[in-house]
């Protein structure tokens, strides 16, 4: 699988895991991140701009961490660890290494 194709999945998994902790607020915060477009909140579908997908994921993680602290960073990491394990290290966004 093309690693770039993984980024929308990574974003969606992070948002859904945050939703599990903080509810709909997770989607509101995700919408504030430039480059993320929420396609269907109920189905958990998002798209990511092609230009800098790793940077977009980093900003999404930072968006949650800015408000909710370090614990939220750990939640982001745990949400996608299975996907990250299958990616080449250089493709993993810096915030999730």
């Amino acid at each position: 699988m093309n690693p770039a194709a993984r980024f929308p999945e990574i974003a969606a998994k992070i948002i859904k895991e945050q939703e599990f902790v903080i509810g709909p607020l997770a989607w509101e915060e995700a919408r504030k991140v430039a480059g993320i477009q929420v396609v269907d909140e109920k189905k958990g579908e998002v798209t990511i701009q092609d230009a800098d997908p790793k940077g977009i994921i980093d900003r999404l993680v930072a968006q949650y961490e800015k408000i909710f602290g370090k614990a939220s960073h750990a939640v982001c990491h745990d949400a996608v660890k299975d996907i990250l394990a299958q990616m080449p290290p250089e493709e993993v966004p810096a915030s999730l290494r």
Binding site: F20, V21, I22, I67, F68, G69, A71, S72, V75
Partner: protein, 278 residues
Amino acid sequence: MSDTDTSQDEFKKITEELYERNLELAKLYKQVDTLNKELATANENLKALIKQRESLVHLVTHKVKGAFTRSKYIFAGMLDGSFGELGDTLRDMATKGLESDNTGIETVDLVLNADNLQKGNVKYEMKPIDFKQIVLEKIADKKIQAEAKGLALESDISPDGTYAMLGDAFWLREVVNNLIENSIRYTREGKITVGLSGGDGKILFSVKDTGVGISDEDKKILFTEGGRGKDSVKINTDSTGYGLYSVKLIIDAHKGRVWAESEGPGKGSQFYVELPAA
């Protein structure tokens, strides 16, 4: 640091704390959810198992009991001369065959009764009865069986007790029968004493023997479904583990208590049944 900065810091701290609490709750929710799913699976497996068990009982009813009954009548026919005169050897074999079939039918009935009692299929006919009468009948009934084994069957019935109660005579007969028969089975030598006393609104029935006794390990499973004691199967290979289980179900239905006492293997046993008097 300005007041605004301080309150913003406070707000962030509170938000982070709330997030951490929510996270803990979310983790707990996930654990509960996982356990619920496991429980649902276990429940499904249990339902399947109960269905299998019911179908097994069904099979026992129609096939095994039917087979025993058919061969019982063949042996009975041989013994009553329906198939002509028998020689001594054949007569002896037919007698043994009939006894074996009777044991088989009794065993099947025991399991079926336990199953019906457990499922609540038994409708108790609670009527005023004299429990002493049931005990006396069964003592008379079992005396020959005990004496044939070289055992004394004694009774210790308090003459001034009151034994009137509300109960189902058929099933209480099963209880008395089962407990006395068990004692005969598990006693190699000595005696069996059937006791009965009544007063203060209670009837106490007991069966004491000088038999093999009960180990602490076996005591724990004595009245459970299929609870065949490790030591008991050495003495009684026909043990089904449903006799005492049925006794408990019947006594529970009569709002009574049943229990066993023994000082250990080789030291005899005492079984007690306490029933409410009328």
